[in-house]
Amino acid sequence: MNQSIKKQIQSLKSFFKKKLLSINEDKGEITITFDQENIIESLRILRDRPEFDFKQLIDLCGVDYQDYKIAAHDEKRFCVVYHLLSLKNNQRLRVKVFAEDDEFPIFQTMTEVWPNADWYEREAFDLFGLMFIDHPDLRRLLTDYGFVGHPFRKDFPMIGKVEVRYDPTLKRVIYEPVSIDERNNVPRLIRDEGIHRG
């Protein structure tokens, strides 16, 4: 572990103390987990205090942990991952927040902290159905107009649910349930670590 990462972990620990649910370092990347409570404040501190200075939100994405239950996170299903970058300190940080409710996942919006969170949150809402409280304009972003469902959830089939075609009798484009079967030539397989990697 190099010096600057050690220092960063130290300052994160000493500043946030109990607010940090977890902190770990892996392959030179620091991941911290926050509670839903006071999340906006905590991230604002990460942005504004000079020892953190994470002025840039590089990425924000949703994750659906349905098939990959992690005991450390109370097996909660939905998570938002923030990738932060500090240009001044040349450091990166990954922040995770889990939704309390699996059925109706609610998060706080970060549009006031980083303006580019706007589209990222719209994307996460569109693809995972994550609700961002107080988001100024929470519309779908990537999927079709009138799309039903959240396609990146693990329970959404890869081939989708509807297909579209032109109906010559009705003289318009219509949606129908998919007529094809999902094809998977290579099964998903988890091997014990260290025994077999290839």
Partner: protein
């Protein structure tokens, strides 16, 4: 009695795209206009959404490499680079130094490819047709390099976890004799193709700076070009950072930030190059930054050629749990045979964990974030596309500008829908 004849003019909405030559693909903008002045822009994206991230969850790690080419389809190899770098980080495997140099060489070729298309399309949008034709002439040579090394002109799938697919070829493909062209002309075309790929690239690198000079004589002091770009779409440095801008968009505003220098990957720390930075943060400065970047890329290419000529060696890791064994080994060695079979049926497994790795893509920071649950397929792959936050900022950049400036701003953002919609 006087009657007011000035009618009350209300804002009106206008639809721009999705089929519009200046929209660089399938961009639909809903514009709120006050006369010819833009009040609000609402981009509707997703018309090219192919759910690459979802598809990758259902494919082995190696099967997803060609999908990466199709993200930002004007800088193909850079996308692969970020993806394979994340896998290498997760697996903790070392890439041979020669493969690193080859990657740097092709990254810079890709940067020139991308900037040439951007330059041509941007100038065309603003009204200068000629540059487009010149830029495509040079792109043709660079596509030939892609073809020589991977067999495909665009979607190369050349970078593999652990290195690159194969070493640089010692011959270049040649033009064949035909009834339509005289043999003297064919010989002329084949003149710089008689040697190896490195000779061909070196020849290109020698010619290229004069080409950039040619573009600059067409544009840099061009009155119309300046009228259309100076003072248009100004972003101040703090705002550029807050909006998540990276790459030339950020450097155009005067922030010196380049991952190749600040968080060097591969062999960038050993190469000599500079980071051009703008001052005003307008379209013209971003143009100058990108032009200068092409020259710097050319310098890096020259250094890579020099190194590659003198240092032969392996181009892919010999860890057969991740990279395939050679054909000859497979024919004699049982273990290699098994490795090959397992690798191309089941694929390799990545231990539980997560990683994010990013490269300095021609458009900004292109990164991939992989969460692995120990399977042969990623549990979640997130692609951080540089164009996404740039396009999100278009409302702010165009507010108060004329409709015609919108086109210049779309051009300066270097938008490609493959990466934004994913």
């Amino acid at each position: 009695m006087r009657v007011s004849i000035v009618a009350e003019i209300k804002n009106y909405t206008m639809n721009f795209g999705p089929q519009h030559p200046a929209a660089h693909g399938v961009l639909r903008l809903v514009l709120e206009m006050d006369g010819e002045v833009i009040q609000r822009v609402d981009p509707h994206i997703g018309l090219l959404h192919r759910a690459t991230e979802k598809l990758a969850e259902n494919r082995t790690y190696l099967q997803s490499v060609p999908y990466m080419d199709r993200l930002d389809y004007v800088s193909m190899m850079m996308n692969e680079h970020a993806y394979v770098m994340t896998i290498e980080k997760l697996l903790q495997i070392k890439v041979p130094i020669r493969a690193q140099y080859i990657r740097v060489l092709f990254d810079e070729i890709t940067r020139i490819l991308n900037h040439l298309l951007w330059l041509g399309a941007h100038a065309l949008d603003v009204g200068a047709m000629t540059v487009f034709l010149y830029a495509f002439r040079e792109r043709e040579d660079l596509f030939d390099c892609y073809e020589a090394v991977s067999g495909a002109r665009m979607h190369a799938a050349y970078y593999r976890p652990g290195g690159v697919y194969r070493d640089l070829p010692s011959t270049m493909p040649q033009f064949q004799p035909s009834k339509k062209q005289r043999s003297s002309e064919i010989n002329k075309l084949n003149k710089n193709r008689s040697g190896s790929l490195l000779d061909f690239i070196e020849d290109f690198a020698k010619r290229f700076p004069t080409y950039v000079d040619e573009y600059e004589t067409l544009l840099t002091d061009n009155r119309i070009w300046k009228q259309r770009t100076v003072g248009i779409g100004v972003v101040d440095p703090d705002r550029a950072v807050a909006l998540g801008m990276t790459g030339p968009m950020l450097r155009g505003s005067g922030v010196e930030w380049d991952l190749r220098k600040k968080q060097p990957y591969e062999t960038y720390s050993e190469l000599d190059f500079k980071i051009p930075v703008g001052k005003e943060g307008d379209c013209y400065d971003r143009y100058l930054v990108r032009m200068e970047e092409m020259r710097e890329s050319n310098k890096i290419i020259k250094q890579c050629i020099e190194w590659l000529r003198e240092n032969p060696g392996p181009v892919i890791s010999n860890d057969n749990k991740v990279t395939p064994p050679s054909r000859s080994e497979m024919k004699e060695d049982m273990e290699s045979m098994i490795h090959h079979f397992k690798l191309f049926t089941e694929g390799f497994h990545i231990p539980k964990g997560e990683a994010y790795a990013a490269v300095e893509h021609p458009k900004g920071e292109f990164g991939t974030y992989i969460i692995s649950d120990g399977a042969n397929k990623p549990y979640r792959l997130k692609i951080r596309a540089p164009g996404f936050p740039h396009l999100a900022a278009i409302n702010e950049m165009t507010k108060g500008h004329m409709l015609s400036d919108l086109v210049a701003i779309i051009g300066t953002q270097d938008i490609v829908f493959g990466e934004i919609d994913r």
